[in-house]
Symmetry: C2
Subunit: 341 residues, 2 copies
């Protein structure tokens, strides 16, 4: 009998999560011949780490059920079918799913939406967790359905070097927009401009005050901002509010909390009225209708090299908690993955 | 030669406006026979005082040009034609326009949008400055186009006894919604529930803390809030954010500033994401396409007694500055007017 290593949520964090909140466990992996009808056994190659997981670790009001204690942490995964009792899946198929923080998963492939076969001829398997996966579709939805970019307009995005932000900016560039990013540190900013082709990137760490950040933004977006994609919240969002053009749109995809989990106030909410803005929060899993269209465009762009992305890859399941904590602190550079094989 | 008494903006306020910011002047009124072709001379019966005028008094970034110094304060007016050189206007016609803070106005009636004849058979003249005028259409637009009320849902509105708020609530009731108001003081709250037919009204003055206000709101809106119409901002908006249902809508029509003109922070912006809200600012003069439909419904409701409203009437042009200052402090009860005749 094989062993399946798993990471479970051991306790809920007070404020910032720590390694203590997780526990590595080993479970027996039933042999393939014990699969039930319709089940597929997947060996995970990559595990996706995403900011939304932080919200699930707490019990407070959120848009989703909290992650149960002592169960395998949820998470997106890509892998390979190593045994199948479902006619549409064969051994060797590459698949994307929500297998969680573990090395193997038994998936009921008959249930719609749990597993999807992917083609790795022109697209690397890991990209299905990033630019051609949930982060990419998140970027696509918020930009296209909320910001509604127009050629000649200006789009800004926070966490610009990340999995979502980098796709937002490149999609906006492909629509003929001027694109301004926010990122933490000179390396990320250089990458965003030189590699991803943004018009400007503001290193928010260089700006201790809102006045200073706002001055930098005025220079980077001299015509004002027509659409903003918010991955972070806090001071960047206030600076953006003050620089938005009339009838601008803000897609709210992420909002950090303060160090102790308390919300960070918005200092200039009156700009929503002054500039007649539309500010809209969304989570992409509630808009499954756009996934086919979004994945088609994202897949084509990645396969033809027109959508670039970067990955931070941690090695081995045991490294997942530290990699996740680093992600929350902005230590990753691009899409954070854990390589399991 | 007659005299036209006028109030001009004498200086811009630092913080709260005072009577010193205004000056009463007397100008000669040219005799009717000197009207140019297409001009109409209107004697004002009522002047409208509205919160938006505060924004115009300052020079800061706003959605409109500032009120020029030493010129007649802008403002909506209703009155009677006393001389006309335009074929569509006759002496005795009742008209609504933007005549400003003065007793008479010469209007170029040939220019579209400056003057509109109104029927006072079933609707009092003053109502065209309130429920069947700009405040009524403001209520209609924000409720219908942003909040999108559905029967059985819950709608909340701040400044519920005011010209806009009272119309929002009654329109929402007519759509089958549960309606919760916020108002300052027991008299206004009683009026909102007993006279206007709201299901509940919260006296925000009874709640010194957000926790207390939130507890009251949980009781008044036990199923959560689906749409909110914001006339004020500040703590009420934070309490509402915490009680909004998923996919709720917030129409932002007014946002007070602090005592010194500084913006009041929003403490719980993360709820925009958590509850996937849409928050949208608007000013009704940018949506002229809805005016005919809105005025038709509002006029019918007022003429048939199904839309109630209350007026605070100050007497004489000289009383306008103090009445306006009182309006900003919430001392009015219903639509604030100045009676000039």
């Amino acid at each position: 009998m094989s062993i399946n290593r798993q990471i479970v949520l051991a306790s809920r964090p007070q404020g910032e999560p720590s390694a203590d909140n997780f526990r590595l466990v080993e479970s027996p992996l039933a042999p393939p011949e014990q699969l039930a009808d319709g089940q597929v056994l997947v060996r995970h190659h990559f595990l996706s780490l995403d900011p939304y997981m932080r919200g699930r670790m707490s019990e407070g009001k959120s848009y989703a059920q909290p992650q149960p204690l002592n169960e395998v942490m949820i998470g997106g995964t890509v892998g390979e079918v190593i045994a199948s009792r479902h006619p549409q899946y064969a051994v060797g198929d590459k698949v994307v799913g929500m297998g969680g923080w573990q090395e193997y998963a038994v998936v009921n492939a008959a249930q719609p939406g749990l597993l999807r076969k992917v083609d790795t001829t022109h697209i690397p398997l890991s990209a299905y967790l990033g630019a051609v996966g949930m982060p990419g579709v998140t970027a696509w939805y918020g930009l296209m359905k909320i910001c509604e970019p127009r050629a000649g307009g200006t789009i800004s995005v926070s966490a610009a070097s990340g999995a979502v932000g980098s796709a937002v900016g490149q999609l906006a560039k492909s629509r003929g927009c001027r694109v301004v990013g926010f990122a933490g540190g000179p390396d990320k900013c250089r990458y965003v401009v030189e590699e991803l082709g943004f018009d400007a990137c503001i290193d928010y760490r260089q700006h201790a005050t809102l006045d200073s950040l706002q001055a930098a933004l005025r220079e980077a977006a001299p015509q004002g901002i027509d659409g903003h994609f918010e991955n972070v919240g806090g001071m960047v969002l206030d600076a953006v509010l003050l620089q938005m053009n009339a009838f601008g749109r803000i897609a709210v995809c992420g909002m950090i909390a303060g160090y102790n989990g308390e919300p960070i106030p918005l200092r200039h909410p009156q700009m929503i009225l002054t500039s007649r803005l539309r500010v809209e929060g969304f989570i992409v899993s509630e808009h499954m209708e756009v996934w086919p269209e979004a994945l088609k465009e994202l897949g084509t762009l990645v396969a033809t090299g027109r959508l670039k992305y970067r990955e931070s890859v941690a090695q081995g399941l045991a490294s997942a908690p530290e990699a996740f904590i680093g992600l929350l602190k902005g230590r990753n550079f691009g899409k954070q993955l854990v390589k399991l094989i």
